[in-house]
Symmetry: C2
Subunit: 327 residues, 2 copies
Amino acid sequence: MPAPRLSAAAFVEGLLAGQRGVLSRAITLVESTLSADQALGQEVLQAVLPHTGRSLRVGITGVPGVGKSTFIEALGRHVVENLGKKLAVLAVDPSSQRGGGSILGDKTRMPWLSAHPAVFVRPSPAGNSLGGVTRATREALLLCEAAGHDVIFVETVGVGQSETAVHGLVDFFLLLLLAGAGDELQGLKRGIMEMADTLCITKADQANEQAARRARVDYQSALHLFPPAPSGQVVPVLLTSAVTGAGLPETWATIETYAAAAQASGYFAQRRAEQQLQWFEEAVQQALAAQFYGRAGVRGALLSVRAAVAAGQLTPWAAAERLLGAG
Amino acid sequence: MPAPRLSAAAFVEGLLAGQRGVLSRAITLVESTLSADQALGQEVLQAVLPHTGRSLRVGITGVPGVGKSTFIEALGRHVVENLGKKLAVLAVDPSSQRGGGSILGDKTRMPWLSAHPAVFVRPSPAGNSLGGVTRATREALLLCEAAGHDVIFVETVGVGQSETAVHGLVDFFLLLLLAGAGDELQGLKRGIMEMADTLCITKADQANEQAARRARVDYQSALHLFPPAPSGQVVPVLLTSAVTGAGLPETWATIETYAAAAQASGYFAQRRAEQQLQWFEEAVQQALAAQFYGRAGVRGALLSVRAAVAAGQLTPWAAAERLLGAG
């Protein structure tokens, strides 16, 4: 039997009291494709909005094999156990299907975090559109903040378009890398290196440690040849091990130092405001596109118009005009 | 007295005959904001479409001071004088105002190219919207191809959003850098390094030559730590001097080798087709946005809605809904 439907007021009360069950159901609401759910979800979001924005939002990415789950488990444990933070772990993975291999679908990936009462772990929303998945994650992030989570990790897969989206919803972006640059870079999306606020070399232990130290020197030299980050802050390269715990306190200290400096300079608030406006503009754009591409005439004409563009028979602008005429 | 208005057929005939005056007027047509001009421009574009696509499109960027004009002048001269190519030089610079400091407004910047009959040099279209400027440049590029220009340089300023736009309309992207990384990187847009298909270190002559050689080694090492280019091809670092001419034939040979390999692998055609579809999708999006933001109700509500989002009083999604309701 499904739980009885909550009112908006009950959702808000439960969220602000930090009730995990309510948080989980509120996220399900904003992920829902049913318009009644969405309306209720938006009402709840709007009501809790004054209670959002107080967390530190950290994006974490890296290719499969870099040890992302164990890194998040270990860093999260440090943050919760030693610093008393209330953590939420979200994910953006447009390729994931709920129940069919989501990057956070398996709670055995992060057993300690998943079992801890101060931690809320949520897999990526299902969906094929990056825009939809990103929006749901942004809304989930706000709901987690309303529920009192003061650190939010947003995990992404490191190989597609989703990193840019995640970069647009966090305060700090962490890129995980393996020592011995080469094979693992094959899978990494180009451009991602320059989004990072910090690089963490993972598995820097035992037989890997020497290679990791060399990799750090190499990356540090390389970063000097790069344009500076928009924050104006240096991008450090850290050695970490989820096994020994090495580098994890330093990683967290780096994030906090960064945030403090960004707050002091005004960059933090400015970037948050820019992100909010960007979400707004994307929301308008997505709504306009959804209206337009939802029309039967447009759907009917789209395939042939696209084919004519791809074949070079129609200029992109003539094609756009034809499609607009079909709407 | 203005020249008499040409018919679409006269434009097409003049373009295909490679008449510079007609090319220039056709570009003015597609840059125009008058709807009659635009309609005629689109008719011309559509008619010449089968005669486009045969050039090699090369994006060239770098911060002010890197020697972009002299590099383009020297590389262009090599391509025209030694290889017999017909060159066009276009620019994307959304900050430029015609007559008020456009990056290509001053023909004294490239005196040899500007005076040569096989070269067509055109400043950046004026306009404050990147989308509008980019579209005009894309259309100008197609018109240049129809007029028989088989090499097109698209210059951009290297410090804003325009590089991504230019990357989306060329086959090959060249980043110019100065030796002695440091100050000049301050102005460079982060992320641009990873878009480059080749790095050219400029002013590698006289007292600069040793520093340039060291810089090449450094950049080569750094690039090994990067994810590979989507083309699968290595990103070379070349030393060039517009004064001595050193490195310019090698630069052009690199571009041709790249293009031949990309053509053989199918990457070239695939990327062109993707770019065409991307232009099409952007054209649809821009038209939808122009319709929407052109409505009086939307224009009236926009400022207050944006302010509410920036102040955190309204969720981005509630704000979007309010704005959509105002339309």
